[in-house]
């Protein structure tokens, strides 16, 4: 209840364009939204650009938010859309850099479960891993696996066909699988030393 009234207060202030409430809203969702933006970008600076562009949209369109659905979800959607726009804008530039896959043999990890992996991995590791993918794979994977969009929506957002989306996802998974195992083997190595 307290949270809701606070949110309503912030919304009211933001609609009036008051700096204090805007800052409150900004701080409230900064962490989550920044981590969303990081997933769709190649660097921290780029992510910050996306974040700020997204927040500009949030503040300019706060009047359109009618209160149905959670505020966080609404903002998150805006952020994702902004990131996709950003992706389209930079597509040409990004496509010039292709990443050759040169992975070494991965050590054996037969006994690990997913929970173990989740515990071991930090968000920075995740970002590092995910950024080794080509931008298209990165975006498709983030949209599908983390944000939970389906292939049709992704295809529409990225102006690609559903088949492309599916194949991108499969390839991204394959690469990430390798990368994660490599990462874990490295970690295990360090821990042993």
């Amino acid at each position: 209840m307290n949270k809701k009234t606070q949110e309503a207060k912030i919304l009211k202030g933001c609609r009036a364009g008051k700096a204090r409430y805007q800052q409150m809203l900004y701080e409230l969702y900064y962490g989550k939204m920044f981590s969303v933006c990081l997933r769709y970008s190649r660097s921290r600076e780029e992510a910050k650009d996306v974040l700020h562009e997204g927040y500009m949209k949030v503040f300019s369109g706060i009047g359109n938010y009618k209160g149905d659905g959670s505020l966080e979800g609404w903002i998150r959607r805006i952020m994702v859309n902004t990131a996709i726009n950003h992706y389209h804008k930079n597509k040409k530039l990004k496509d010039t850099f292709s990443i050759e896959d040169e992975y070494d043999e991965v050590a054996e990890h037969g006994h690990l479960t997913e929970e173990d992996v989740i515990q071991q991995m930090a968000y920075d590791d995740l970002l590092n891993v995910i950024r080794t993918l080509p931008p298209a794979y990165q975006t498709v994977f983030s949209l599908y696996a983390i944000e939970g969009y389906n292939h049709r929506e992704i295809a529409e957002m990225l102006h690609i066909s559903e088949g492309t989306s599916k194949s991108n996802l499969a390839k991204a998974r394959k690469k990430l699988q390798k990368q994660v195992q490599e990462l874990l083997s490295q970690k295990a190595h360090f821990q042993n030393v």
Binding site: Y26, E45, L51, H52, S60, Y123
Partner: protein, 768 residues
């Protein structure tokens, strides 16, 4: 054996758990953007003034009331040579030997810190004894010398304030030595030199580790106070106190002492500026004042950190190219070159940028949400005194007289031209009506009606109507209607109107709000249509929900419904039907396109019906096939899977004869499962025998029922029966009565020189 993880789950959970740490610096950046775009309300003047005052006071307090602003802060330094010589000479005096006690160059000192401290420690005892013997003399001499040196170098250290500059450890140390050497005895100086040595090292350590801000002020006050107290005492007392306190606790004090040299007046100011995101130092008093008041220009020079980041971005490509292996580098360069080549090739391809064009036409802001927020904050419309009735001839000759344009009328009847501020009722005029502001009600005129702002109600005129702002109601004119063209700012109405109509004999223009019905003899330009838009020649609109019909050309950005034109249609997004006599062009179609030629980037949920359909992400295949009559064929199939066009060429090779055919057809594919499909195709060939082009009738009609097997690389194999009908005319000049294309047939009849043959055949083809 390496185990497969559920990668999705791992990443989702890690991502869900994570939250980035908040960086308050970012808010300042965003706030700048917000202010620039007018998304943040300005605080009232009073609060602004209050903020300035608080800012000035707090700045002044921070800068000048800091306890650090004692003598230590005036760090005017004579030239390096001076301080060096002074130090060495003083040291020589002390020890009475030619060897300098300490090396005068602090940089060097810092490096040899350990050995030096040892040295000084050992020599301290010796010097102590000597000093006790020749205390006064050394004092006098050293003081005398220092004064002389200062005179020689023409520097007055106390009064001159240094300009802001970066404190290198070198300068700091020098300044410190110089300063303290005056009130204190040389012995004391020696100690302090030693301390500064430690300091410089500590400075570096602090800089390296990056934690120099914490608790600085407190430490500084303590140290400076203690030093200040010391300097008040007599020389001998000073010696003792320093020996007892500073020196004895030098270990303890070492980390504190660094703050003395580090945090002078300037650095405090610097730190303060850093906290307020002022990174570039002000160059003169005016700039500084501007900073305080917050009216100075935004800084242009990026901070070193930022510059580094930007630089790194640009250098990343370069570096990657440099560090890579030669083979890899070649590959990368090749890809870059390839992209560049493709770019130049793509130049010729036309790209549809309809939304940009239309936005320019309707003067839309690139970011519509921003524009909306501005509209919402518009002031409310003015209120005018209302007159019940008005009668008049032309403007000054009326019951309202000269002030007619100040009143709003409920009923107004004018013989020729009526003029008023606004209308809240009914108005008639023989020639025209002029309202400065809004119209609420109905206006009738023989020739024209014009309102400065929005119109709620009806405007009817023989020639033209003009509503400056938005239209809510109807505009009927013999020739021309305008709405929302002349006065763009007054756009929003208080409530959504139910029905908006524009009808004119020649043209309609509506740049504001939406319309339900727009009809004109020649052209329509409407921003948003929720209903019908019809014109004899041209229709342009940004969004249509309903039906757009034009005699020649229809242009629209978004269509939900149908767009029908006599000649061509252009749209960005279509949901529904796009139909034209010749050409349909669209970016994204959800539905069908019907026309002679259809062009779209993507088409879903429908079919493009026409002679040629070019769908960018549709179905495009070559097929090579053979059949019993035309032995070898090559064809191109273009469209979507549900409906595609076929262009084909086929030939029959016989020992004595050569026949070839030019064909066109349509086809459809229905999937049986993922790998196999069913194909239905209908084709028409024109057959030429033994010559390039046959003028007589020779038409081969084919219906094919094919089974297709698809392979993973996009190829597919087609096989199935065909049913053929050949209609041919007698050609007596070449001694052929009728075509004998088919090797066999089960029906053959000739009526009036027209031969009909029916037979069944086989099709075997490969698509790629």
């Amino acid at each position: 054996m390496s185990r497969e993880f559920n990668i999705d789950k791992i990443f989702r959970e890690v991502a869900d758990k994570h939250e980035e740490a908040y960086d308050p610096q970012d808010w300042n950046v965003l706030q700048g953007h917000l202010k620039a775009n007018g998304l943040q309300a300005q605080p009232s003047v009073l609060t602004q003034v209050m903020r300035y005052i608080v800012k000035i006071i707090s700045t002044a307090a921070v800068v000048y009331m800091m306890p650090a602003s004692n003598q230590l802060n005036n760090t005017a330094t004579p030239s390096a040579v001076d301080s060096k010589t002074i130090t060495t000479q003083a040291a020589e005096h002390l020890t009475g030997s030619a060897k300098p006690l300490t090396h005068p160059n602090p940089d060097h000192l810092a490096q040899n810190n350990h050995t030096l401290t040892k040295n000084t420690h050992e020599r301290k005892k010796e010097t102590d004894k000597k000093i006790l013997k020749s205390k006064k003399i050394t004092q006098h001499k050293s003081k005398h010398q220092i004064v002389n040196k200062q005179k020689g170098s023409n520097v007055t250290p106390h009064k001159k304030r240094t300009p802001l500059q970066l404190n290198t450890p070198n300068k700091k140390a020098r300044g410190f030595v110089k300063k303290t050497s005056k009130p204190l005895v040389t012995k004391q100086k020696q100690n302090i030199i030693k301390q500064t040595n430690i300091n410089t090292k500590d400075d570096r350590l602090a800089k390296n580790t990056g934690n120099k801000n914490s608790g600085v002020v407190k430490k500084k006050t303590i140290i400076s106070q203690s030093l200040y107290q010391v300097s008040k005492l007599s020389p001998i007392q000073q010696l003792d106190t320093l020996d007892n306190t500073t020196y004895r606790h030098s270990k303890h004090l070492a980390p504190h002492i660094d703050s003395i040299s580090l945090h002078t007046h300037q650095t405090v100011l610097q730190a303060y500026h850093d906290n307020w995101t002022w990174v570039q130092r002000p160059r003169n008093t005016f700039q500084r004042v501007g900073r305080w008041l917050g009216i100075s220009r935004k800084r242009r020079i990026p901070t070193p950190n930022k510059a580094k980041q930007v630089n790194a971005k640009f250098m990343a490509v370069d570096d990657s190219l440099k560090t890579d292996k030669p083979s890899k580098r070649k590959k990368k360069m090749a890809t870059i070159r390839k992209v560049n080549q493709n770019k130049s090739l793509n130049l010729g391809a036309p790209t549809l940028r309809l939304n940009k064009l239309l936005s320019r036409l309707f003067f839309d802001k690139p970011n519509p949400t921003v524009a909306k927020s501005r509209i919402n904050s518009l002031p409310k419309p003015a209120v005018y005194p209302i007159r019940e009735a008005q009668l008049g001839f032309v403007y000054p000759l009326s019951t309202n007289g000269v002030d007619a344009h100040k009143y709003s009328n409920k009923l107004s009847i004018n013989a020729l031209i009526g003029s008023a501020a606004a209308l809240d009722g009914l108005e008639f005029a023989g020639f025209g009506n002029i309202e400065k502001d809004y119209v609420k009600g109905a206006q009738f005129a023989g020739f024209f009606n014009t309102a400065g702002s929005h119109v709620q109600g009806l405007q009817a005129a023989g020639f033209f109507n003009n509503a400056g702002g938005a239209l809510a109601g109807a505009q009927l004119a013999g020739f021309f209607n305008l709405a929302g063209v002349t006065n763009r700012s007054a756009s929003r109405l208080a409530h959504k109107p139910t029905m908006n109509i524009q009808a004119a004999g020649f043209g309609n223009l509506n740049f504001n709000g939406s319309l339900n019905f727009q009809a004109a003899g020649f052209f329509n330009i409407g921003r948003q249509i929720d209903g019908f838009q019809g014109a004899g020649f041209l229709n342009i609109s940004k969004e249509v929900n309903g039906f757009q019909a034009s005699g020649f050309v229809g242009v629209c950005e978004k269509i939900h419904g149908a767009q029908i034109s006599g000649f061509m249609n252009v749209a960005d997004q279509v949901e529904g039907l796009q139909m034209a006599g010749l050409l349909n062009i669209a970016h994204k179609v959800k539905g069908s396109q019907i026309g002679f030629i259809n062009i779209a980037d993507s088409l879903t949920h429908g079919v493009p019906i026409g002679f040629l359909s070019i769908i960018k992400n549709g179905y495009r295949k070559f097929e090579i096939w053979g059949s019993e009559s035309l032995h070898s064929n090559i064809g191109y199939k273009i469209g979507v899977r549900k409906f595609y066009n076929i262009f084909a060429v086929g030939a029959q090779f016989l020992p004595d004869k050569f026949r070839w055919g030019l064909g066109y057809g349509i086809g459809t594919i229905r999937n049986i499962n993922a790998k196999s499909n069913f194909n239905f195709e209908a084709m028409v060939y024109h057959i030429n025998e033994n010559k390039f082009w046959e003028e007589n009738l020779r038409v081969l009609n084919q219906v094919k029922f094919l089974y297709g097997r698809e392979f993973s690389n996009g190829m597919s194999l087609q096989i199935g029966p065909t049913f053929n009908i050949l209609v041919s005319q007698d050609t007596p000049e070449s001694n052929v009565l009728a075509s004998e294309l088919p090797p066999y047939h089960f029906f053959d009849s000739t009526i009036n020189g027209i031969n009909l043959k029916l037979w069944g055949g086989l099709h075997l083809g490969l698509r790629f």
